[in-house]
Symmetry: C2
Subunit: 445 residues, 2 copies
């Protein structure tokens, strides 16, 4: 076995090329997996999910300030994943009643669940309070009033954090940049909304404020934004403590820790992030005269992204002439934008390889496209694949564990692929493949 | 009842403001609909779907060349819609085995179904041949060989069209522009692939070539691309007839007829399109010495887009300060990118109104956003809503009938909304609302 063409920053550590050149994942040949579970297929190396959860916890444990690591379940949630997260001693973030329902179905300890969202419904908030979630990150004055009413009516006390907007521009796609002013999340520190929210909160005995929260965005590859947000959050915590005579000592630093999708992506190591965030909080706490004894972080993609690989079968292969005189090989696979919308939605890049064999044919400029009825149905925009790739070959796309299944659709009447997790070399179906019958299940027509 | 603020080019004709200012759709008040079916809610004026199908058929019937109008089901397909399309005497386009399964479940006559797609599987092709679909639009040499093998093995004869790439740049979003060279669809007229495909087809007795097909893209608002494609298609038909001594007399002109989403959208009327396409085909046929006695067109969005309206309930309302000193009102609704990805995916524009009442409050710059955990979760990027809009109000978004439900996801654990169709003023559930249980239905965890 060799990992010669498999960048370990992109592929799961268990991804290896067998003697015949075939890709193996967590001890299983992709041909066998495709035969047994069909394609397209979402594969997870479950041991790597656990390892990355542990790595994240250890990185922050090694630093002076206590840290609760919350898995951001929006990246991908199923009962099996919730169980792995719980077994690793992580907390869980949910952002809807639906995510909470899945977590509860997996028997995740509600006291270790945090509830996010810019527009939680009264039903969702009441469900969360009744379930006894650890804390709720409130996002607006409307929500604070609503939650106060609910806790009062239920005679419950609910721990909360306030989502702060800190005017930070994260270096990422604008759709997933979330702490600048002109977006829907949080309460602005600069226009007084954050102070007004804190004032509202302290007036309600059913709400126990534990700290402020910030999330600057997703897939952030540089430190600057994280550092700026942490500093600003400590400053705002000091201000609120002083203004309302509180002793908040927790800051919620959010997630957004980027991963490598292609060779050129160079994310900062999580150990470096943990160190710098701790240094920043300690320095700023000293400057602003506040004691910060706990931080929270919320990785999602970092934990489930790299352990996920999507397996496709090649169908039509078509060389297309380009204006510059060159050729692009269009390699159609049996999935597409229904199982991975990220390429079209965020102009995301991915790494694709011929997976069932090694070819010595020359590598040619290629585009992996799906089977959907539109030209934006692209899985991997630019890659180099062997010129002899053909119908029936398998293609593996790396780092598809986050935001692919969770954003999947049934566009063009496409049943969603199965999700298979491999634990200790044993594959098991986490989410079964949909059928044509499933496409009709809601149809009362 | 009045339609004073409802541009009839955008809203269903049955959309009216009642005495109290409330929006009524096909005789039903939105408050009653929201109460009965909850929100978010996809609503269709079924009579308007039928009317638009009939309008499309009549527009082409009024012209000299016979025309088969195919409804492009990828825009939205459920059994009820398939039945309306069949009752209007239209044909149906499917682009996958899943869409075919839904059509068959609605007892749609398979002989009136055409099967599209750049990467149909052997299973899909065999299913289509066995079902007896009217014709299959083949998209590659691989597919022609595969289909020839299947028809030979099953001893069947299958009518086909060949999808041609004509080097036309449609004026629309690049993701939905589909006849330029550098994309996955079709066989290029310029590099000989189209001729090679025709040669391959005529060598197989199980394949009956009925003509060439082109589809330049979606949501096209100007005539030029349609005209250029029709002209080129006739030219290529003449060339193929001459080269292979055939007498192809049908051209498939595709769809892509744009609709108005906002006041500034000014689509060409379908009557004008029908007239100009007929003129073009007749002229070009004369020039190239070929007889074209039939065309096909494939509207999807044109038929179901405008009859569809999405109804949301307002949650959090939050004014946000802009850099220029102004304010933008962020109005969060109970759905978002899970039920309408088009805003984020194509930078699409929509029209939103306060639906449960008329307000005399000043209109302010607003953005309708969803409840999902990302800043790109925008339903309507820029609109003006009354400044007193608040929690519990209803918002209606127009022209959401196409590519909203069909591309919907369960992102953030969001059950997909119900689809309600209103026929002769009677609302009926076409697709029932998903539940939290549905989110767990595939989970073998």
């Amino acid at each position: 076995m060799t990992s010669v063409d498999l960048n370990p920053a992109i592929w799961p550590k268990s991804a290896l090329r067998g003697a015949n050149g075939e890709l193996h994942l967590a001890g299983n040949s992709v041909t066998e997996l495709a035969k047994k579970f069909e394609t397209p297929l979402y594969l997870y190396d479950a041991d790597e999910i656990l390892a990355r959860a542990n790595q994240m916890r250890s990185a922050f444990l090694a630093q002076p300030i206590q840290c609760d690591v919350h898995y951001a379940s929006k990246a991908f949630l199923s009962k099996a994943v919730a169980k792995i997260i719980q077994s690793a001693g992580l907390y869980l973030d949910v952002a809807s009643g639906g995510e909470l329902a899945i977590a509860m179905a997996a028997n995740f300890d509600p006291a270790r669940i945090a509830f996010h969202g810019n527009n939680k419904s009264a039903f969702e908030l009441e469900t969360a309070v009744n379930a006894g979630v650890g804390h709720i990150i409130v996002d607006s004055l409307d929500e604070i009033e609503l939650l106060a009413e609910i806790t009062s009516r239920l005679d419950k006390k609910q721990r909360i954090m306030i989502r702060a907007t800190l005017g930070i521009n994260a270096e990422t796609h604008e759709y997933i940049s979330t702490a600048h002013e002109d977006q829907k999340f949080g309460l602005s520190a600069s226009n007084g909304a954050l102070l007004a929210a804190a004032k509202e909160v302290v007036g309600h005995s059913g709400l126990e404020l534990i700290g402020l929260h910030s999330h600057i965005g997703s897939q952030v590859l540089v430190l600057d934004g994280f550092v700026a947000a942490a500093a600003k959050l400590v400053e705002q915590t000091a201000l609120i403590n002083k203004t309302f005579n509180l002793s908040l000592n927790t800051v919620g630093l959010g997630g957004g820790f980027g991963i490598a999708y292609v060779d050129s992506d160079k994310p900062v190591s999580i150990e470096e992030i943990a160190k710098v965030l701790n240094q920043t909080v300690i320095e700023q706490a000293k400057i602003h005269g506040v004691v910060i004894s706990k931080i929270t972080v919320e990785p999602g993609r970092y934990i489930v992204g790299p352990p996920g690989v999507t397996l496709y079968t090649v169908g039509t292969v078509k060389p297309v002439s380009l204006i510059d005189g060159g050729t692009r090989l269009y390699v159609s696979v049996d999935g597409g934008m229904s199982d991975n919308i990220r390429t079209a939605l965020y102009d995301a890049n991915y790494t694709a390889i011929l997976a069932n064999r090694i070819s010595t044919a020359p590598l040619v400029l290629s585009r992996v496209v799906g089977k959907h009825c539109e030209s934006g149905d692209i899985v991997v925009r630019d890659c180099y694949l062997p010129s002899d790739i053909s119908n029936g070959d398998l293609i593996a796309v790396a780092a598809t564990g986050a935001y692919c299944r969770s954003m999947s659709s049934q566009y063009n009447g496409t049943p969603r692929p199965a999700v298979v997790g491999i634990t200790n070399q044993q594959p098991a179906i986490w989410l079964r493949r949909e059928t044509y019958e499933d496409l009709l299940a809601l149809d009362l027509g």
